[in-house]
Symmetry: C2
Subunit: 432 residues, 2 copies
């Protein structure tokens, strides 16, 4: 007859007998009542089927008091402002509905990630909870203003934003423009699998994010798995990064630049890109420039596409377009679907038109072929090695400034390397 289980609690060190083998580790919160989630000494997590567990021993209770103290802030550890905004990293399975519930307060965060609280005092804030496909420029503005306040709070060492993966690279690009040159690390992180699964990537991403947020690398950056292994994360420049895989843990890839650094779960940081502005911490305040004009659009050009799509956006009172052009910067330039006369007409009427590379990797160059030169003559501006997604965000941000609205100053601002969105040193490396 099986002994009734003692009721171990998350944070307890326990040993478990399963199929006549013993596993020892720290119990984590699991939202599947049929699964015991155990953090092994190696740092790996395993999910054990309760029905296969024949014995559980509590080796060491986590001190209740210690837990409370930590949630109240130890007062001894550096303070990190932690913004929960939604996404898989902030979700847990709801065993009743089979759906997903948001994880919204410090206590819940502690239940899943106790080790984070060993490193930093966390002030958890949750301005909104959304899947990232439902975020828009209003959310970017709100987040920029909040993060700006944290950056200007001298008690705060750094900021972490947890976020859905799908459009995280849009938010990180928006923050890079709205916050400008920051005085402390602003770390955006994520997970591809929800936190209460044994295979989740969130634990490594979060602990590495904590160390990144304490570092002297004052940048808006993404921190997440560098590979499919659970060994270290990359710090990636927030406006030159893109989600490149539907499900892999290392889905975020630096595009046209190197990762900034490797960050390990023991806190070690290895610089990779020494070009990055390693300014160190400053006591200076930053000025948040959180504006956006939504009258912008992104068009991915494909063969045979009618240029009438341009007229559609004009009719919709769009002020600026980013076109994902092919190769070095081309669109259809002959026959009945010639884009050039339509572009010329709209640009004359005041539309701002920018080209970004559909290949994602590499740099546009309008000078190699005559269609590129013609596009430039009629007023299309070529945005070098910028990501199309980043170009759209930058255009909305630039047009959000009434004082920059003249065609010359808009053009100049779009071509200016505001915060590293162009890699002027880009060679022919793929840099994947």
């Amino acid at each position: 007859m099986k002994k009734p289980f003692k009721k171990p609690e998350p944070g307890d060190k326990i040993s478990v007998k399963i199929n006549n083998k013993e596993e020892t580790g720290t119990l984590l919160e699991s939202h599947d009542p049929g699964v015991l989630l155990l953090k092994l000494e190696s740092g790996y997590n395993i999910g054990l089927k309760r029905e296969e567990v024949s014995e559980i021993k509590v080796l060491k209770k986590r001190k209740k008091q210690e837990k409370k103290e930590e949630l109240k802030m130890s007062g001894k550890k550096p303070i990190i402002d932690f913004y929960l905004t939604g996404g898989t990293i902030s979700s847990k399975l709801d065993p009743e509905t089979g759906g997903v519930k948001w994880l919204i307060d410090a206590k819940e965060l502690f239940g899943l990630y106790p080790e984070l609280f060993d490193v930093v005092d966390v002030r958890v804030k949750s301005p909104f909870m959304k899947a990232s496909e439902n975020m828009d420029s209003k959310d970017w503005i709100r987040l920029a203003k909040l993060v700006g306040k944290s950056l200007n709070d001298e008690n705060v060492k750094g900021v972490i934003v947890s976020h859905g993966t799908d459009f995280l690279h849009y938010t990180s690009a928006a923050l890079s423009f709205m916050l400008g040159k920051v005085n402390k690390p602003v770390v955006l992180t994520y997970s591809q699998r929800s936190s209460d699964r044994g295979s989740s990537d969130s634990r490594l991403n979060l602990i590495c994010s904590a160390y990144a947020a304490l570092s002297d690398i004052a940048e808006v950056m993404l921190v997440g798995h560098a590979s499919m292994n659970d060994d270290f994360c990359f710090m990636l420049q927030g406006n030159k990064v893109r989600k490149m895989h539907t499900s892999r843990r290392d889905t975020f890839r630096p595009i046209n630049c190197k990762p900034i650094a490797k960050v390990f779960p023991d806190g070690k940081i290895e610089m990779i890109n020494n070009d990055v502005n390693k300014r160190g911490r400053s006591d200076g305040k930053i000025k948040v420039d959180a504006v956006f004009d939504n009258r912008v659009a992104l068009i991915k050009f494909y063969p045979g596409q009618s240029p009438d799509i341009l007229n559609y956006y004009k009719k919709k009172a769009c002020r600026g377009l980013v076109i994902e052009m092919s190769g070095l910067g081309h669109v259809l330039s002959e026959g009945k679907n010639n884009w050039l006369p339509v572009l010329k007409k709209l640009i004359k009427k005041g539309m701002f038109v920018y080209a970004a590379p559909q290949t994602l990797y590499g740099r546009l160059d309008p000078y190699v072929y005559s269609p590129g030169r013609k596009l430039q003559e009629i007023g299309v501006n070529f945005l070098g090695d910028i990501l199309p997604e980043c170009a759209l965000v930058k255009l909305g941000w630039v047009l959000g400034h009434p004082s920059w609205r003249g065609s010359v100053s808009t053009k100049l601002k779009m071509l200016e390397n505001v915060n590293g969105e162009f890699n002027e040193r880009l060679g022919s490396e793929f840099l994947i």
Copy 2:
């Protein structure tokens, strides 16, 4: 005083004294009168400034007769049908205008690529000469019909199509559907730099294409540089490949599959993907199915985007849409810009709507999150790991069949793995 140069001709083996060093190699045709283009024994090409050359010796004249014979077909070598369609690989600098001229006949091809004619008898055809951004479905249909004729000509061992890079992956996807299971190799190739530059990638790509076209791998495939080195090419499946860099020689990358094989300039072929249908040559005739309905469009979704773009395409009498969705298959699903009610309405009215991954890498999965399930309930179909570009081509091709026009058969055909466009074995490998 400098001696006047003898007039060596392309194909001659010459030695050149330049800055007191000697270089030996085969003279290639150069369209810059100030540059001598030399193919070294190593296979590398160098461009030498004429003004720095102090002496040229002709070591061995290329036999005129041999050249003529080869252009008339040796009758001893296997016959390849070679379709020149434009693009950088078919262009040469026009020294008078500084622009680009097309290379359109066998003699010109021979002038630049004599080594190709050592391997195969080439029948050069040029149905049209276009930059690939100006090609559309009419060109795909024309090309498919021509290539189909070649495949059904028992004298022909294989087909090579030279093509601009920008939208080569659209043409190769179109041919993969229009030609179906082929009986012989159909090789599409390209270059990133024009043929008369010393650094051109066209020479390796062409010689490897010739060996690929003689192989027993009966597929529609791309052949081009596997890396930045000039050592070998990859054979890449034509409907799972994408231009991923604006300027690199190895710009074409297999997406969600392995390369088929390596092919070396000495003719050696090393298989990589043994899953590929290595059917070998068959004497069977193929049936070309070259149809296309242009009433299709590709939309790349971005955060905050209004779903009104869907209504625009409906008004334009569009019959089918491919939407590049985020992550596992999401679009904006709440608030005033909720895409779901608009999609539902249009699908009810008969619009075909398909989802493809915006990440490019990985596979959509509508079952993980509720927005994906909702999209599926209203009739959006998820196309797994297909490339968005390939999905658009496939949709136009499927809708081009009047007999498949019912909503059930269109849906089934789009979800059917017609010619390897889905990788059913895809794991979580990035496979870059």
